[in-house]
């Protein structure tokens, strides 16, 4: 049996990065995710795997260091929290436009503006609908446990290189700060220069060999026809991602007549709500999207006709509920319950709100 270690979600991100052969981390401290870089600095992976860990002078600088590292075919990442991610969004758009692989971790806190350091899920729109400008998509994974935080780092890099696309782990202050036991995965060594060349020679800027023209990493195309072709190519790629990479979990939906849709920490709190409901004889289940983009459209679509009503539970003023309503398409009532600004509802509080919706 693999060793199980007690750690914080933020620490798990750092240990997973070293373990899965990440080449470089560039970041700037911000609560509630500062332990990511603190742990990396403490572990000194530059002495073991050769991984670079660098504190940049700002988030803008971090994401552009990621841009540079990714252009060279390296496994690179950054992490921040909501206000810092806003600063990175320009860079994210460029990375997506240039089709570069990278991992961005957002441990969300309440906003808008500087907001609060307490947990929130108010960056759902930013993560799944854009953030930066232009018609681009980021693959978004929503961890609900410390084990997820650990496992999703390697998964993110796999997806990022498979699709040459930025991947975001969209956590929150709860999964970042909470400690749980984590089962460690077998270590992957960092890719050698030769492996990078084999894998990324068609696009990365690795130095031009005589055998091929130089690779150019750019998101600029002044000719509208060329730009449109590139956009269509991106949209085709996103369509593949939407058909291949959907991930979700269900909890007691087999016989459910009511459904809660919740992601991240809220999906776990909602499981307790299911228990409260079932004690009262109400058949409630939970759908937990693991990928927020691509969204589990078909899974939700298939559940809708069996439900009397659906409630989206989020730590925001109602963001994912727009997707739930779109998919439910008026077939059943869709309600929303959320707390904002860093307040976390208890299972009892959510249950009370749920009971009100079914009595209407």
């Amino acid at each position: 049996m693999a060793e199980k270690i007690l750690m914080k979600g933020n620490e798990a991100i750092a240990y997973a990065a070293i373990n899965c052969g990440c080449d470089g981390y560039f970041g700037y401290p911000i609560t509630p995710q500062s332990e990511v870089m603190e742990t990396l600095m403490q572990e000194k992976p530059w002495e073991t795997t050769g991984m670079v860990v660098l504190q940049a002078e700002s988030e803008t600088s971090s994401i552009n260091m990621v841009y540079g590292g990714a252009s060279c075919g390296k496994k690179v990442m950054t992490s921040s929290s909501s206000p810092g991610i806003s600063l990175m969004c320009e860079g994210l758009s460029y990375l997506a436009g240039c089709e570069l692989p990278c991992l961005v971790v957002n441990v969300m806190r309440g906003g808008p503006g500087l907001g609060t350091i307490q947990p929130s899920q108010s960056d759902y729109f930013q993560a799944t609908k854009g953030g930066g400008h232009g018609d681009y998509r980021t693959i978004v994974l929503a961890p609900a446990s410390v084990q997820d935080m650990y496992d999703f780092v390697d998964l993110s890099f796999e997806l990022a290189f498979k699709y040459r696309n930025p991947v975001m782990i969209l956590g929150d202050g709860i999964v970042g700060q909470m400690m749980e036991k984590v089962e460690l995965s077998p270590a992957k060594p960092r890719r050698t220069d030769e492996e990078v060349r084999t894998l990324c020679d068609s696009w990365a800027t690795l130095g031009k060999p005589a055998s091929r023209p130089g690779n150019i990493v750019t998101s600029l195309a002044l000719d509208a026809d060329i730009m449109e072709r590139h956009n269509i190519h991106l949209q085709n790629k996103y369509a593949t991602i939407e058909s291949e990479e959907v991930r979700y979990e269900t909890y007691k939906t087999e016989d459910a007549e009511y459904l809660i849709v919740a992601f991240g920490c809220m999906s776990r709190i909602s499981e307790n709500v299911v228990e409260l409901a079932r004690e009262d004889g109400i058949k409630l289940g939970v759908l937990r999207p693991i990928t927020l983009y691509p969204y589990p459209e078909k899974a939700l679509d298939a559940l809708v006709p069996r439900m009397k009503s659906i409630m989206s539970v989020e730590l925001n003023s109602g963001q994912m509920v727009e997707d739930v309503r779109r998919i439910a398409a008026g077939r059943v009532p869709v309600h929303f319950y959320g707390r904002q600004g860093g307040v976390i509802p208890s299972p009892e509080e959510i249950y009370e709100a749920f009971v009100k919706t079914i009595k209407k």
């Binding site: 007690l6 509630p32 909470m178 749980e180 036991k181 920490c265």
Partner: protein, 180 residues
């Protein structure tokens, strides 16, 4: 078995590390655990709390509104958490600095004069382990062997010399706790 605990006091009393050692003890006996700290303005001084869950089964919500046990180390925390102990649950508190004592009759109230005991021992840092000892006496959910193994896991190796002192402090807490 599922035990949901809140440990609350001032920053610097060792609230978070006590929770961590307890959680590690749970892992040593193959249980599921969560450790959820208050990390807000509290960690910049003032009150501080951590909720710890130990369970034989998968833990859903790490966020709790009611607790099986509350371990209370200052007046603010007593005021905040006394009402949130489940009926039949346990409240353990250190009377040091407490002006309004627990009033509930439907829970088991226990007192541990940990500040006094730590002073007698001449080691203020043993404070949280004395409190942990009191808790483990009242609710022996983690064995001493697993607590010590948890300590070994959570302390950096250079501090392993301190483990016997911690063991002694836990024993002191076990003896000194009063069930009211």
């Amino acid at each position: 078995m599922k035990e949901e605990i809140i440990i609350a006091g001032f920053g610097g009393q060792g609230v978070l590390s006590m929770g961590k050692i307890l959680a590690y003890g749970g892992i040593m006996q193959d249980q599921e655990v969560t450790w959820m700290p208050s990390y807000g303005p509290e960690m910049r001084g003032g009150t501080c709390n951590v909720s710890v869950i130990l369970s034989d089964n998968k833990i859903s919500s790490p966020i709790l509104s009611r607790f099986d046990t509350a371990i209370i180390l200052n007046q603010q925390s007593l005021d905040k958490f006394e009402s949130r102990v489940k009926p039949g649950g346990v409240l353990i508190y250190d009377p040091n600095g407490i002006t309004r004592h627990p009033e509930r009759k439907d829970i088991k109230v226990c007192r541990i004069a940990a500040a006094d005991e730590a002073a007698k021992l001449g080691n203020a840092k043993a404070y949280n382990m004395i409190v942990l000892g009191a808790y483990l006496k009242v609710k022996p959910i983690v064995t001493m062997a697993n607590v010590l193994e948890g300590l070994r896991k959570s302390l950096p190796e250079r501090h392993h010399g301190l483990i016997p002192m911690n063991e002694q402090a836990i024993s002191i807490g076990m003896k000194a706790v009063e069930i009211l």
